[in-house]
Subunit: 316 residues, 3 copies
């Protein structure tokens, strides 16, 4: 069993054994990051990070992961500094066929759904989807699963709330696909018209997971072992008015919302937790034992170290 | 014979023996890139990449080359993120005198003709011209020569078409200077008023090369061993109307244009092959055996590995 | 005595023995940079460079220093390519809590005074202030002190002129705090309303330094061993008119200004020496033996190598 040479486009393509392999490998590599060390595991390799959409976390997390493993990094953080974003309008396919010749692995983020798949089709080297519009963000899902497995010592048997705009947020899509491989109970908390897209809902149903849907977080907070939430993205809405309306109906997290939370519950959030209007998770929550979202960032580096190592076939 | 410490500003400064040295060195280093490995040949060195003009290929190609050789890279991809581009208007000379203290070698791209020479004059470390406006792009010329030598097993004796805006495109200038050292027949295909600048035409004539000029590619396609072409640059024209007029008269490459091509002919193109209006080389051509422009990108990394190693005096 | 784990926010926090340690360490590491070599002293470490404000010198200087010591670098040169600068308005605290998980050390520049201190408070890893608005730029001060110690073979006993907008320019603030630990005579040369802020003036007075204030450089030029100056920053002024008025009254440096300079006097300047209107230091001065500002750039890399090594606790 191996992930060598594998594209990472959708967590829907990952079987339970693939996920388990990533989590086991992450556990093995975690001490390198925890002890602030670097190894030479990937010293022969070059990673290209192509960010057509702004990012702090995901880009720096992948670059830190590659650096901890001794590899080299090239890329761009802003398409305007590249021909891919200038007036000539180079196609994504051409850009990928080129970068393909420079690096051993490509990590790409793009505003448009499906672009990661397009890139994977033309690239000879593996492509990792670091977010394609409203579609998916599979390494975020994997790091969320790793965070749960580390903090709760298991995933099977837990009750996990997915709280937010499940329709438009790519993080929920990847996380839901990932969780569909586990024996968990899912609780969906979202405004009207914000349920998971059909193919993902079908996968969860096909895999026999038990699910509940509510509109108010307060009604289910006491049952959750994990509260998984993400900020809404303005880009997912046609106009500012629609966004503001949705924002008002959107479950925000604060000390009051958490009043009846279970002991040991953990809150995960891909961050940022601001949404252009206010805090989606109130900073007062940071001081509670529930807040795992900054530690999750650390587990993110560790999980990406595992993904890079596995896809590049590092001998461990 | 050595290129140690040498600036690479114009291919007009390169003698046949200099070019041969680059090609031989590239051949020696090619396996490192081909096998997706890195060495420690330049582990002691730092490259600064100063891109005042956007680039995907050239910047990432140099950075990949340096990383394959174990060296470090610093620099900027966007002058607006640097004092060189802010309101204070730091002069190029001052920027170079500063960066000069940080790196062992400077690679620079700039919108303005002659800036590479200006930089070389004030820098203590070698400067490599990665494109200065409409003037030159010498490492592109070297990688094109390497591509020909690898794919056709020789350069001398070939018939090579230069197809496009020979007046304004820097890639043609460097390539023509490079080819002037070889025993080749040159076929120029261009719209009116788009012939090579006088000093380059004179060099070719002084070196006794046989040349032909036509306006239609179809008239000569059957004779060419190499079709070397590049997209027009909007920046080279005073207004959009003039650019569109020129674009209409400009030789585009598609399946029909290639109908009578010689077996074994190869098409080289520095890319991107889009020009803001349409495809300069039709994607259908990619599927033909003539299309070498993506493999050329790989040879580009290899050639730049050779140039970096030679200029930095690496012991090989 | 050690600086391991120490934040570098203000030179006002540095005692004489701390400064001496930095200077001694810089002297030890200088040959690595001078001989264009790299070591593995920090090979286990990752530096994050977060530049919310444009920079050539400081960012590339830190990155070159880290690369000379074998460490890895991640970061951004433009906040717009990061979530920290997008419409969601992630707070600085959140950005730091995140980057904190990726790197072993953070170097940050920001338009706003006090942000370095804010970052240091929330970060677990050390934070180095690379300039926070009009407040401080402590590593610039340290490199200036190193330059003086190398070129004049001592700091104690010298007469040092601080020439410019001492009120608004952060470089003067850090340098003045630094110099307050030495037995030097300070000569302040500035337009009206441009004296040092009170807390810094008080420190100098408390430490018993002898000071003089004049408005014309010509009146004191013959007494100075070191002329320390910096360009005005437009950002420090409310409107363009006010800036232009101040600019006219501001001491500029040219061959005439230096007519009666002492033999062996050195001019230091953090650069750029352009100010959007003209040259603050005339390029003709570059040819005089007084001009040390480009060599100062080299000492900057060396000093930053020392700071990185000390803060990260490298065994030397």
């Amino acid at each position: 069993m191996s992930l060598k040479g594998r594209d990472v486009i959708s967590l829907g393509d990952f079987a339970r054994k693939d996920i388990d392999l990533v989590l086991r490998t992450a556990r093995k590599l975690e001490p390198i990051a925890a002890k602030h060390r670097r190894t030479t595991l990937l010293k022969d390799k070059i990673l290209a990070t192509l960010f057509f959409e702004p990012s702090t976390r995901t880009r720096l997390s992948f670059e830190a992961a590659m650096q901890r493993l001794g590899g080299g990094v090239i890329g761009f953080a802003d398409p305007k500094t590249s021909r891919a974003g200038d007036w000539r309008g180079e196609t994504l396919e051409d850009t990928i066929k080129v970068v393909n010749q420079y690096a051993d692995l490509i990590v790409m983020r793009n505003f448009i759904e499906g672009t990661a798949m397009t890139a994977a089709k033309v690239a000879d080297v593996p492509v990792i989807n670091a977010g394609d519009g409203s579609n998916e963000h599979p390494t975020q899902g994997l790091l969320d699963l790793y965070t749960i497995s580390r903090e709760k010592k298991k995933i099977d048997g837990l009750t996990i709330g997915l709280v937010g705009d499940l329709r438009n947020e790519r993080t929920f899509h990847s996380m839901a696909y990932g969780l569909s491989n586990f024996d968990v109970e899912l609780v969906f908390v979202h405004p009207p018209d914000a349920s998971l897209p059909d193919p993902i809902a079908k996968r969860i149903s096909d895999n026999g997971l038990s699910t509940t849907t509510v509109s108010k977080l307060e009604d289910v907070i006491g049952r959750l072992d994990v509260l998984y939430t993400d900020t809404t993205r303005k880009e997912a809405f046609k106009d500012a008015g629609e966004y503001e309306k949705f924002h008002a109906a959107y479950p925000h997290i604060n000390i009051k919302t958490l009043e009846n939370a279970k002991e040991g519950m953990i809150i995960l959030h891909p961050l940022p937790r601001t949404d252009g209007i206010d805090f989606h998770v109130d900073p007062a929550v940071d001081e509670t034992p529930y807040a795992l979202y900054f530690k999750e960032v650390f587990y993110g580096v560790v999980t990406r170290m595992a993904i890079l190592s596995l896809v590049l076939g590092a001998k461990m």
